[in-house]
């Protein structure tokens, strides 16, 4: 098994252990988890159906999004949250969006929680949007990492603050930091 896969599995085990309250993560373990999550990115091999109003937008590499397209999640979420919703500052590039997510995960000021969503464990990182808040952004920014995929699921700014995390279908939430 490749080193990356071993680390992904080890980190997943730590997240599940923390979420199920089988154990409390040490500071070093939490740092290990976050280091992995920051680098995990969106799944480059996955594809998501384009949905709703991102149809017709210009893709980062050129060309228009067509109805029925299946695009990499990194692109779908960029088009949705940066280009369409303007949650990030005007002018944020695709690479800038991804870099900002890593920045939030690595920021010691970010809060960290684990919980289950649709039955699977996720680690979520929440921080003030601050300079990442665009003209139609919100005060808090959320990054979700899903253990089953080993990648980010989404990253957006929370319309309803922390209530948008705790009251929308997530279960067994434990705050780690």
């Amino acid at each position: 098994m490749a080193e990356v896969e071993r680390e992904e599995r080890a980190v997943g085990d730590l997240i599940v252990a923390a979420g199920s309250r089988a154990r409390t993560l040490s500071g070093a373990e939490l740092e290990r988890v976050l280091r992995h999550v920051a680098r995990a990115g969106f799944d480059p091999h996955a594809r998501e159906n384009v949905r709703g109003p991102i149809v017709g937008l210009t893709r980062p590499a050129g060309g228009q999004v067509q109805r029925g397209d299946r695009l990499p999640p990194a692109e779908v979420h960029y088009l949705r949250h940066v280009v369409y919703r303007q949650e990030w500052p005007v002018g944020t590039t695709h690479a800038g969006y991804l870099a900002s997510i890593r920045e939030v995960v690595e920021d010691p000021a970010s809060r960290v929680l684990v919980g289950r969503y649709q039955g699977a464990w996720q680690l979520s990182v929440v921080r003030e949007s601050a300079a990442l808040r665009g003209p139609e952004g919100f005060p808090l920014l959320l990054v979700d990492y899903r253990v089953t995929t080993g990648h980010w699921v989404t990253a957006f700014q929370l319309r309803d603050g922390l209530a948008g995390i705790t009251a929308r279908g997530r279960e067994d939430i434990t705050w780690l930091r």
Binding site: P73, R85, Q118, L158, G169
Partner: protein
């Protein structure tokens, strides 16, 4: 790349667009739900859980008289479609707002012909 800042009316319209698009696509999403990857199902659910928070903002805007007549019409339609889609949403494990939250909007729904109701309410308060 985003290039403009939108005004309040356009911002609200964008929120309506997002929710209406989801409601439009809900039957199709439900039909292929089992074939979606775990990651895409989670993505759909988490995004919807965030977007649907706009309902509370619509209510606040309605009460303050900020919605345009056209937006009042959209609000009534969205609420009806939301109720119609409830079993589908809940069947997929997607968020459905608490009845207590939606109850505050029942008068809007009951009015049925809401065009201008927000502005009329504002006029009455003035």
């Amino acid at each position: 790349m985003a290039t403009v800042t939108r005004n309040r009316e356009e911002h609200t319209n964008r929120d309506f667009d997002l929710i209406e698009a989801m409601l439009d696509e809900l039957p199709e999403i439900a039909a292929r739900w089992a074939a979606l990857s775990d990651g895409e199902r989670a993505s759909v659910g988490l995004e919807w859980g965030n977007d649907i928070g706009a309902i509370a903002q619509f209510l606040a805007d309605h009460q303050r008289g900020y919605l345009t007549p056209a937006q009042e019409v959209r609000l009534v339609a969205v609420l009806r479609r939301l109720r119609q889609g409830r079993s589908l949403l809940e069947g997929l494990g997607l968020y459905y707002p608490p009845e207590a939250e939606l109850a505050a909007l029942r008068p809007v729904e009951a009015a049925g012909t809401p065009a201008g109701s927000s502005r009329q309410a504002r006029g009455r308060r003035a």
